[in-house]
Amino acid sequence: MRFAAIVATFAIAAAPIQAQRGAVDTGPRNPFAGNEQAVAEGRDIYNRACTACHGQDGTTGDRAPALAAPGRRYLRQTDSALFDAVQKGIPGTQMPPMGLNETEAWKVTAYVRGLRGTAIDTPAKGNVAHGQQIFWGKGECGNCHTAQGKGGLIGPDLSNIAGRRKLSSIRDSLTKPQHRVLGDGGQIESVLYPLASHKAVRVVTKDGRTIRGTVKNEDSFSLQIMGTDNALHLFLRDELREVIDEPKSLMPTDYDKRLTPEEFQDLLAFLSRQGTTAQTQQPPIARQPVE
């Protein structure tokens, strides 16, 4: 039951990412869209004016929503709606007009829009079919991760990884032992989620059994583990003799060495295209033929 609920949570989180890209902007277009220099200047303005409430790189501060947290549903989806909020504030809320001129406000808008993009917006170049072979074969990724409806359960489900993470974040997770990066989580959640850390753990029960796996969730009184046997193991803490946190993640981070440069690039090309398709709106009812 709990497991079903968790799956449902991911499905819901994935949906708005797809849906919001379809938002129609009928307002003025951002003159700086895609302009790297302007986006960089937008970041400087953002860091001067916005981080106190919205946090570093839109990950959320204490007082206002995350502007670019993975999986969140945005109130202001279009360039013109964002521009409007930046320049005029949002009446009746604690969001003030920011005192920026039009050019500056468009630059901030371009920066915030850029923050929201994930790998699927800018997929890596490479041979996707070969990357898929690496995923299931030499890379052994599928032993622990789910993708395309199959695979292991102990690691994070990668079915929508390109919809949730930036390309740089995916690359880092394959190559850096501590790969948490700016704009890649760190947000303060608003509701209770299962833990995202996939912390490796080993427990010894009072009757002497040893179970290894990753922590799905835990609190001071209980512990929920996905075992290396791909089965859930649920404990009250007083049923356990020992809980040992493994010092290292189960995830290897030397893929740039265990794969050739070409294989690595192709794996990235495959991963950066893993996105689930959200349920779209009902298709419009076909117009009756005119008689």
Binding site: R48, A49, V191, L192, E218, D219
Partner: protein, 526 residues
């Protein structure tokens, strides 16, 4: 004593919402939870003891009230003679505190999800700060608006702190382009009576602690409630950080009166004294954490003390008659931004600890060794209970140079992150400090909880109730910290629990996520 108390409970419940006067706020009935911190001294120590370590296993939920459309509520409910008032921004509900049944609702447009920590109640009125920077008084019996006053000033914002009623005045904090303030409004008419500004005006005492014209950058937001000593007739408030939180180049000097504890005369709004915890702060260590007022013999001398566990990692004991620093001790394992405190309580800042473009490791993190969630003090154990974050952060400034323009908001200059080092990740504890030595008496680790939110309440029954970010309301033995009971509320807890009584039964209530949940002994008082 207990029977007497119970008898008075029955009498109270028979009378319908007897008017609560400002005089009653001083002689608080322990069955009521009259203000954000329970009582003026902010001890958060309930005198009710029906629930104690011998029967806490029998505590069970009595009712749940769902506040639709809300999320991650931070409010502390107020209970007056059997009626509970609970608020979010632009939204107040009055409930039967025994059953959770709704009596009235107040809604103001637009209903907002911004942080709101509570309201104040006295003389049949509920005082509320709103998202569009108004202070309003509602009739406590039906929610009708009795008066409404716009907070004056340039770009003023009400920032969610609960108002505090002292005699005929309701004190409300806020922030504006030119700095934070406390306002006093007449409880009958809503007329503004005075304003105390947390930043001096150019030329006033304190302005010399701001280089050049940096006072214009603003700061010192007043976003949390205070405490009050009726004998000294002084109100105590902590102030927020200076403008451009993480960049100090443009505001060389101590930047008074940011990150201070201030004592205000509630009659005039004049400042009697101040003590600055973090001069020239560049880590956003707001000093708004609730001050607890305790009278005790300290180092052989009877003293009127003010206790505060500060966001900067030190636990302070001040003389609240004059603001004199008496003692300061670290209450977290690692402090990197200062190497200690001088004799007069000034931190010795470690060079190179300021935020940088590439990021500087700082312990405690900007999230704070503790933050706005409430601590408690028990006169029975003489322990100070506080929720503590162990760990470090990375503080970053967005650019090596910032263009400062008059009239434009300066913002924070950038932000902070949790340290990526596994050993420095944030972990919450309920920590009991010997209130007078600052030494840790016990620790309770809140496994899975890593960011501030919940607070604690202590009871004469010998229990500390603590919310856990991960959703548990947990009862701890006040002497040992041993967990005795817990309940999974199913949602984030970002609020501090309260204790109250109705008709002879003791209740513990917590706001969890978007629900208010009240607990009591199963089967009631036996």
């Amino acid at each position: 004593m207990q029977t007497l108390l119970l008898a008075s409970l029955v009498l109270l419940s028979a009378s319908t919402l007897a008017a609560q006067t400002s005089e009653d706020l001083i002689k608080a009935d322990p069955n009521n939870w009259l203000m954000y911190s329970g009582t003026y001294d902010s001890k958060r120590h309930s005198l009710l003891k029906q629930i104690n370590p011998s029967n806490v296993q029998n505590v069970a939920p009595k009712w749940v009230y769902h506040i639709s459309g809300s999320i991650k509520l931070e409010a502390v409910p107020i209970v007056v003679n059997g009626v509970m008032f609970v608020a979010q921004l632009n939204h107040v509900d009055a409930l039967d505190a025994r059953t959770g049944r709704l009596i009235w609702q107040y809604r103001r447009q637009p209903v907002s999800r911004g942080a709101h920590r509570g309201i104040a109640v006295s003389d049949n009125k509920v005082y509320v700060g709103t998202a569009d920077a108004h202070v309003i008084a509602l009739d406590a019996r039906n929610g009708a608006v009795r008066w409404e006053t716009k907070i004056q000033g340039e770009d003023v914002r009400y920032q969610g702190g609960a108002p505090l009623v002292i005699r005929n005045k309701v004190l409300v904090g806020g922030n504006s382009r030119v700095g934070g303030f406390i306002d006093a409004y007449d409880t009958e008419s809503g007329k503004q009576l005075w304003r105390w500004n947390s930043l001096p005006k150019p030329g006033e005492p304190g302005s010399e602690t701001w280089a050049g014209d940096s006072l214009k950058l603003g700061g010192g937001p007043m976003w949390h409630t205070g405490s009050y000593d009726p004998q000294l007739d002084l109100a105590y408030f902590g102030t927020g950080q200076p403008g451009m939180d993480f960049v100090g180049d443009y505001r060389k000097g101590d930047n008074l009166y940011t990150d201070c504890m201030v004592a205000l005369d509630p009659e005039t709004g004049k400042m009697k004294w101040y003590f600055q915890f973090t001069p020239h702060d560049v880590h956003d260590y707001d000093a708004v954490e609730i001050p607890i007022l305790v009278d005790a013999t300290f180092k052989g001398q009877p003293r009127k003390l003010l206790l505060q566990a500060n966001r900067n990692g030190y636990y302070y004991i001040l003389d609240r008659t004059n603001g004199k620093f008496l003692q300061g001790t670290p209450f977290v394992k690692v402090i990197t931004w200062a190497s200690g405190l001088t004799e007069d309580g000034r931190p010795v800042v470690v060079p190179g600890s300021e935020p940088s473009v590439q990021g500087t490791k700082v312990c405690p993190p900007t999230a704070g060794a503790t933050n706005w969630p409430s601590p408690a003090y028990s006169p029975d154990t003489r322990l100070f209970y506080v929720i503590v974050t162990e760990g470090c952060g990375i503080n970053i400034r967005g650019a090596s140079k910032f263009e400062i323009r008059p009239g434009a908001p300066v913002g924070s200059g950038t932000g902070y992150l949790e340290s990526p080092d596994v050993q420095e990740r944030w972990q919450l504890y309920v920590r009991a400090l010997d209130a007078f030595t600052g030494k840790t008496a016990w620790d309770y680790k809140q496994i899975g909880s890593n960011h501030y939110g919940p607070g604690v309440v202590s009871t004469a029954g010998g229990i500390v109730f603590a919310g856990e970010q991960q959703g548990n309301l947990t009862a701890l033995d006040a002497k040992t910290g041993k967990p005795l009971w817990h309940f999974n509320t199913g949602d984030f807890i970002s609020a501090s629990p309260i204790v109250y009584g109705v008709a002879g039964n003791q209740y513990v209530a917590i706001v969890a996520g978007s629900n208010v949940i009240a607990f009591g002994l199963s089967g009631g008082a036996k």
